[in-house]
């Protein structure tokens, strides 16, 4: 799967599952500050990623994930 495809899937997950407005969702957007995803929301996001991409994500892998782009790259590396 190309990075761009992963981004599109992530974008639609954020829109449909979390109700985030689509124009806010860019590769540069910060999860916490720009998309208002708090600590509970991060757990939801991870669960949604795991279901959508049929992968498992460990907490340690999330340490450096602060933006949509970083999340997309992590997912891409695991596919």
């Amino acid at each position: 799967m190309e990075v761009n495809e992963v981004f599109e899937k992530v974008k639609s997950l954020f829109e449909e599952e979390l109700g985030i407005e689509s124009e806010k969702i860019t590769m540069e957007a910060k999860l916490e500050e720009d998309l208002e995803i708090d600590s509970l929301g991060i757990v939801e996001v991870v669960m949604a990623f795991e279901d959508e991409f049929e992968i498992e994500i460990d907490d340690e892998e999330l340490t450096d994930v602060g933006t949509v782009g970083q999340a997309v790259n992590l997912l891409h590396s695991k596919l």
Binding site: L18, G19, E44, M47
Partner: protein, 412 residues
């Protein structure tokens, strides 16, 4: 410090009769039923297929999907009702209310819908698929915390869970906070949204619910010979309680005074009322004493009036013990005949109805009362509202667990 008198300066509500105070009051006075067939989920497998649901409320429209999905329906309704009450009382909802404001909410079963959802997910998909929002949605103090966050309330807070007496107790405890000068403004709410499959099924199992599925609007018939149980309902009602001094200083309008509060426990049976309503009677006596009036000064009793066999007879006996001959004269009504039973939200809703009665000098009826039970032989204001000068109203709320909370409101 002198004891403060407590007034109500704002009202807000969302309930089966309307999504604001004015519509709700109009429907109460016109004897409209808010009960209908269940639409929130497929209830066809349940022995009871109707309830008092909130209508025309889209939480995504109201607060945006990203916020709405974080809350149980009970929390969404609480935030909605609180907004109307705060605006009504003249507060700027865009500014945090701060440390001067306290908050007390009553609920019977909190975010029971979120509990049911989480258990379903756990059973189907395992513990690592339970929503991280489950705990914050299902905890009984969820509405208290979410309303406090939304409007920046930083004073003392309490959540009261005395079943169907919860939000009457909430008003009483808030009254004490103000009287004791702990804080001079308290947002008090009562919320329930337990019209869910497991919860209705479970209440039906204990024979508490009416099963008159053929005619939902006529199922709740307090004090009638053909009553067969209560009707589940959902909603939220919020009152702004304030010291009289604080209300006057900011020229707030005053609906009435919270003049008396009584609270007692049956210590008899976990669901059945004590025989002769003696537990309820003690709470009524305390409320009257606390208001420093005689029982004969009460013009209207907003009864607990659930439409269960046991409640309506025992409440009637308690009123007779309290008022003797005057019991046959005083106007009594059960607004639950129109709303259904808001459980922990009932006390706050009925406090609102009591205050609007005082303000408008009108008494809402007990609808569906066509064939009175011989043991229920008082003046229940059957089927039609009446106009009458009202100085004092008493509102009764009794809950499973044997909890009794009674409030007295006055005009002056």
């Amino acid at each position: 410090m002198t004891k403060q008198r407590v007034v109500v300066t704002g009202l807000g509500t969302i309930n089966p009769l309307g999504n604001n105070v004015i519509t709700t009051w109009k429907n109460l006075i016109n004897g409209v039923s808010g009960v209908d067939y269940i639409t929130l989920f497929d209830a066809s497998d349940l022995p009871v297929t109707f309830a008092g649901e909130v209508k025309d409320f889209d939480p995504n429209d109201y607060m945006g999907k990203q916020n709405a999905r974080k809350l149980d329906r009970s929390g969404q309704l609480s935030i909605f009702a609180a907004e109307e009450a705060l605006r009504d009382a003249g507060f700027d909802i865009d500014q945090p209310l701060g440390e001067e404001f306290g908050i007390v909410f009553g609920t019977g079963i909190g975010g029971i819908g979120a509990t049911e959802d989480a258990v379903r997910i756990y059973d189907e998909r395992g513990s690592n698929r339970i929503s991280p929002l489950a705990i914050t949605q299902l905890m009984p103090n969820s509405s208290t915390g979410q309303v406090a966050i939304k409007y920046g309330i930083q004073g003392p807070s309490l959540t009261i869970t005395t079943a169907c007496a919860a939000s009457a107790n909430a008003i009483g405890e808030a009254k004490k906070m103000i009287e004791q000068n702990i804080v001079d403004k308290v947002l008090v709410g009562g919320t329930e949204s337990g019209t869910t499959s497991m919860t209705i099924g479970a209440f039906a199992q204990i024979k508490a619910l009416s099963k008159q599925n053929e005619e939902p609007q006529r199922a709740c018939k307090p004090f009638d010979k053909n009553r067969d149980g209560f009707v589940m309902a959902e909603g939220s009602t919020v009152l702004i309680l304030e010291s009289e001094k604080s209300a006057n200083e900011r020229n707030g309008k005053i609906y009435g005074f919270v003049e008396g509060y009584g609270s007692s426990t049956d210590a008899y049976h976990i669901t059945a009322p004590s025989e002769g309503g003696v537990g309820a009677l003690r709470a009524m006596e305390q409320a009257i004493t606390n208001a420093d009036i005689n029982a004969e000064e009460i013009d209207y009793i907003n009864a607990h009036g659930t439409s269960t066999i046991a409640n309506d007879v025992n409440e009637t006996l308690a009123i007779k013990s309290l008022m003797q001959d005057y019991a046959y004269i005083v106007n009594i009504s059960s607004t639950k005949s129109m709303t259904g039973h808001l459980l922990g939200g009932g006390g706050a809703f009925e406090a609102m109805a009591s205050l609007l009665s005082l303000k408008n000098n009108q008494i809402p009826p007990t609808i569906n009362l066509n064939d009175p039970d011989e043991e229920c032989d008082l003046n229940y204001t059957a089927n039609n509202s009446i106009e009458k000068n009202i100085e004092y109203v008493m509102s009764n709320s009794f809950g499973f667990g044997g909890h009794n909370a009674v409030l007295v409101f006055s005009k002056q």
